[in-house]
């Protein structure tokens, strides 16, 4: 990994990692005394890592969710599913590259997968429109949900978006309608739906594919009504001093309570999916293995419900969300 891919709080850990690697290279040449030193360094590294990660601020977790090496949908799909066949297009307008999906097999079980996809390099980022879907993306997702319902396949969804795209074409083609329609339809789709926020869950853009019987978040992901930057821009307008702007974003992240622990406490999500030490970007395979196990466990539970119970439970779950008082 290049230095530019380290977040500020990762640096001391990475430094030790580098030292360990250097020593390991030397040890290969037969120097046995190095081994105990390596073990000591590894202990030190693990202590430091768990110390740093146990004290991450909400804003730092948001940064981990956006880590340049963060696994995206198509990084996890080959590791989670036995196979996958991509399906394209909304049948009305276009094939949205920020929204992907198709048939997949999860440990032998046929399922339908839908997820948001970001790009890694400049070209890919543009191709995937930074993971920001147009209405045709939401309509493509809905087409796949209906396909799943028709052939009685459970739906597995990975949410990872900085928001639904705010553009002229998106408005012309009814971004609001597309999201609203998905939310309504997903409430009554007659197959199990498992949603996992794998990175960013920004507002309506996330909710547009975010209704499910089980909603989970990866340990270093965020999900909120608005991004910390958006919130900060509304509350404090434009700030020129970069230090102040950063402080505002930190405060906004704290105020919005967007991390998995917060959403668990508020009763919005059902499960936090642990990530390997240091974050999912340090070990894609390990992250996918943990996720796969939990998906299978949830799918097993949901598959035992009859359709009526499944739908009644889903409705009850969303009907009860909110905090109100009677005077």
């Amino acid at each position: 990994m290049d230095d530019k891919y380290y977040l500020e709080f990762e640096k001391p850990i990475i430094e030790i990692d580098k030292k360990i690697q250097q020593m390991k290279d030397l040890a290969l040449s037969g120097d046995t005394e190095l081994e105990s030193e390596i073990r000591n360094l590894e202990k030190k590294r693990n202590r430091l890592q768990s110390d740093v990660y146990s004290r991450l601020s909400r804003w730092q977790r948001v940064q981990l969710a956006r880590h340049p090496m963060r696994p995206y949908s198509f990084d996890l799909v080959p590791l989670v599913f036995d196979d996958f066949m991509e399906l394209h297009g909304d049948r009305y307008f276009a094939d949205d590259k920020a929204m992907v999906g198709g048939f997949a097999t999860l440990d032998g079980h046929p399922v339908v997968f839908v997820g948001q996809q970001k790009g890694r390099d400049v070209k890919q980022r543009q191709y995937r429109n930074f993971g920001m879907s147009h209405p045709e993306g939401y309509r493509k997702a809905l087409r796949l949900f209906k396909l799943a319902e028709k052939f009685n396949r459970p739906i597995i969804i990975f949410v990872d978006t900085p928001g639904a795209y705010p553009g002229i074409g998106a408005e012309e083609r009814g971004q609001a309608e597309a999201i609203a329609r998905n939310i309504l339809e997903m409430s009554v789709i007659e197959v199990p739906i498992i949603v996992t926020i794998i990175g960013e869950g920004a507002s309506g853009g996330a909710l547009g594919i975010g209704i499910g019987d089980v909603v989970m978040m990866l340990e270093n992901s965020w999900y909120s009504v608005i991004s910390p930057e958006g919130c900060s821009a509304i509350l404090w307008k434009q700030v020129d001093d970069p230090k102040q702007a950063e402080a505002n974003r930190i405060q906004a992240a704290e105020a919005l309570k967007p991390i998995p622990d917060d959403l668990m406490r508020l009763g919005i999500i059902d499960e936090i999916v642990p990530e390997p030490a240091g974050g999912a970007h340090r070990d894609y395979a390990a992250a996918a293995a943990i996720l796969k196990n939990i998906l299978l466990e949830k799918l097993n539970i949901l598959s035992q419900k009859d359709k009526q119970t499944l739908l009644a439970d889903r409705l009850r779950k969303y009907r009860t969300l909110g905090v109100v008082k009677e005077l």
Binding site: A176, I183, V188, S203, V225, A255, V323, K325, L327
Partner: protein
């Protein structure tokens, strides 16, 4: 300040102050025509020259659309909690308290039962003066209960929307109100109960991306701002100017997302006519499908 410069009475707060001045005449912000308040009152605050619709209070829509004396308000005492312990320049409970003081209402929607030209309906109207008509848990819950009143009684649902979207200060819980209301509308669909969504200036973001977009029939007042993202955000994203008329009712209609644009004085009659086309009739009984 010299004493006699001060207003002796409390001024009308916020947008009402800007949009509905309390003089004997006012200037139309759209065409600059000078209009007397008396004539505006008669025309339910629509400019006679250019059809500009001044913003009117939520309660005015009840008088405009619901048969006189038939409205029975529900869930008046529902108030917001502060689940996030949200604080920016002000604490959220202080913001709520200020909005309650300003509007005399507990949150941003009025819901109840009433009749429109004799037809019983579950009616809701949003109040922009209460934190921009934003949808938090109370708005979501009151709309949910309004839908349930439709479901329970088998009567049509009419919602007049006016909102900047989800309420940021309730974070993810506001977002979930989109899910709560839309899920119940799915049940209304299944029971084939009519829902008319009326959009007024502005209806955007979280409200537009949930119940406001899900009517069997969607109508809007002329020249309202309607859309998903706010125009400022879009201009920033595309790094350019927005085309004229972008995100107006007329734009929305042109792109296929509205059934009709209806001027305020015709709202009641249009809604009643639409409902009669959808509700069961005598001929349904004579010639059941």
């Amino acid at each position: 300040m010299v004493e006699w410069f001060k207003r002796s009475q409390k001024s009308i707060a916020g947008d009402e102050k800007r949009n509905i001045p309390d003089g004997v005449w006012t200037k139309c912000p759209s065409c600059a025509e000078i209009l007397t308040v008396m004539s505006l009152e008669k025309h339910v605050w629509v400019c006679a020259k250019c059809d500009y619709h001044f913003r009117i209070p939520a309660t005015s829509y009840i008088r405009l659309i619901i048969d006189e004396g038939s409205f029975d308000e529900f869930d008046i005492n529902l108030v917001s909690g502060d689940p996030l312990n949200f604080k920016d320049s002000k604490k959220y409970p202080e913001r709520i308290a200020a909005a309650r003081k300003k509007t005399g209402r507990n949150d941003a929607v009025i819901t109840g039962l009433g009749s429109i030209d004799g037809l019983h309906v579950s009616f809701s109207v949003m109040d922009f003066n209460f934190i921009g008509g934003s949808m938090g848990s109370v708005v979501g819950e009151k709309i949910a209960r309004a839908i349930e009143r439709s479901l329970d009684r088998g009567i049509p649902l009419v919602i007049v929307s006016c909102s900047g979207g989800a309420r940021m200060m309730e974070g993810i819980l506001s977002l979930m109100q989109m899910a709560k209301t839309s899920a119940l509308l799915a049940l209304l669909n299944k029971k084939r109960i009519p829902y008319i969504s009326v959009l007024t200036n502005p209806t955007t973001a979280g409200v537009m991306a949930s119940y406001a977009s899900l009517g069997d029939i969607i109508i809007a007042e002329p020249k309202a701002l309607l859309g998903f993202a706010g125009p400022r955000v879009i201009a920033q994203t595309i790094g350019g100017e927005l085309p004229p008329g972008f995100q107006s009712s007329e734009f929305f209609m042109e792109h296929g997302f509205l059934d009709a644009i209806v001027s305020r004085p015709e709202l009641k009659e249009s809604i009643a006519r639409l409902l009669r086309y959808m509700l069961p009739t005598e001929s349904d009984r004579q010639f059941p499908l």
